[in-house]
């Protein structure tokens, strides 16, 4: 009779095997912490998309403000849409970090 309980609980404790302290040792807390971990993962998979977009926008903003006095991310995006460029923020942020000069050249082209 105990072997059925043990099988089920070993499956669950395998999931929580890398948790800290009592959360990987005591069976009742293992089941609770597994549930909390799965719920957080589910919620944060959607949050991850939002978080990365925020990060990219911050990075682009930081690099673009180095160009001129009153030049900012919002003006850059406005100019991109006016000139019909389809680049998205992920790529712009990667270029902003790897070679800034490329991004400066593009934004100079777009301002005109």
């Amino acid at each position: 009779m105990t072997r059925i309980k043990r099988r089920r609980r070993t499956k669950i404790s395998l999931f929580a095997s890398s948790f800290r302290g009592a959360h990987s040792r005591l069976t009742r807390t293992i089941t609770q912490q597994r549930i909390r971990a799965l719920v957080s993962a589910h919620r944060d998979r959607d949050r991850k998309k939002r978080d990365f977009r925020r990060l990219w926008i911050t990075r682009i903003n930081a690099v673009i403000r180095g160009m001129g006095v009153s030049y900012s991310y919002s003006r850059l995006i406005n100019n991109l849409y006016k000139k019909q460029l389809l680049l998205n923020r992920k790529i712009l942020a990667q270029i902003a970090i790897s070679n800034k000069n490329c991004l400066y050249m593009i934004s100079n082209e777009i301002i005109k």
């Binding site: 993962a41 589910h42 992920k90 790529i91 990667q94 490329c102």
Partner: protein
């Protein structure tokens, strides 16, 4: 009455397949108008089923006219039996090979034939391109591997040409497309069709005795980028003069930047 409806729907489906093969949108409109009036519900379904095909037609007509003509000639020589088998295999809508070309154009890739004895893999070149596949953009250079959403109509070891290139860059030049660069192309090879790692979807409402568990593996395709065309690449093969070459490059960057 049910028997009669079955016959009518079968006739409509047969005529639909014939019209889609011939492909002008006007013929589909004619068939809808010549249907008998008392049967009201099936024509509505058909109109919703036909309009996406007419939309796809408009998107693809400008791009792949030459390839469609060639494929039509090949199909007529092969015969209709193979078309019927292909329809049964691929399931829903992609009966002739024209449809494959259209759907590929929507995903911005054109499949080339399989290759065996071609040396496609070159050394690293300091050139990058920004390519769009579906709704995802990737910054790519020679020898990179990308995971994209599962691309239909290509198998492992197929060569692909990615049309939608938004940006090309090299140490000396950068070229931007508005929105696309028409002459640029990025060649890639399909490495594998794989499933992503399993993700557990877990929903819980506390104190309400509600808990659901579901597993999901997304279908992916791994592409390896082999070539970028449309930009000048500097080839420095001199072994005895590396210092002079290195001195030249920063000078060129300064003049163009």
């Amino acid at each position: 009455m049910a028997h009669r409806r079955c016959l009518q729907s079968f006739v409509r489906h047969a005529t639909a397949l014939i019209c889609l093969r011939k492909s002008p949108p006007l013929s589909t409109l004619e068939i809808l108008t010549t249907k008998p009036n008392p049967v009201i519900s099936p024509p509505k379904l058909e109109s919703s089923w036909f309009t996406p095909w007419s939309q796809f037609r408009h998107f693809s007509s400008s791009k792949s006219d030459g390839s469609e003509n060639e494929e039509e000639v090949e199909e007529s020589s092969d015969g209709e039996a193979e078309n019927d088998e292909a329809a049964a295999d691929l399931g829903r809508d992609y009966s002739p090979e024209e449809k494959e070309a259209e759907a590929a154009a929507i995903g911005y890739k054109v499949a080339g034939p399989l290759q065996r004895s071609d040396r496609v893999f070159k050394d690293y070149e300091p050139v990058f391109a920004v390519v769009q596949i579906g709704s995802h953009q990737f910054k790519v250079s020679n020898g990179d591997s990308i995971f994209t959403e599962r691309l239909k109509f290509c198998e492992v070891n197929d060569k692909l040409i990615l049309n939608k290139v938004l940006w090309l860059g090299s140490p000396t030049q950068t070229i931007i497309g508005r929105p696309i660069l028409p002459d640029a192309a990025v060649c890639a090879v399909v490495e594998e069709h794989a499933l992503d790692a399993k993700v557990i979807i877990f929903k819980k409402k506390r104190r309400k005795n509600y808990r659901r568990t579901k597993g999901h593996r997304q279908e992916l395709t791994k592409l390896r980028i082999t070539d970028i065309q449309g930009i000048e690449k500097l080839e420095i093969k001199t072994d005895g003069k590396p210092l002079k070459a290195a001195a030249k490059k920063p000078e060129k960057v300064a003049t163009t930047a």
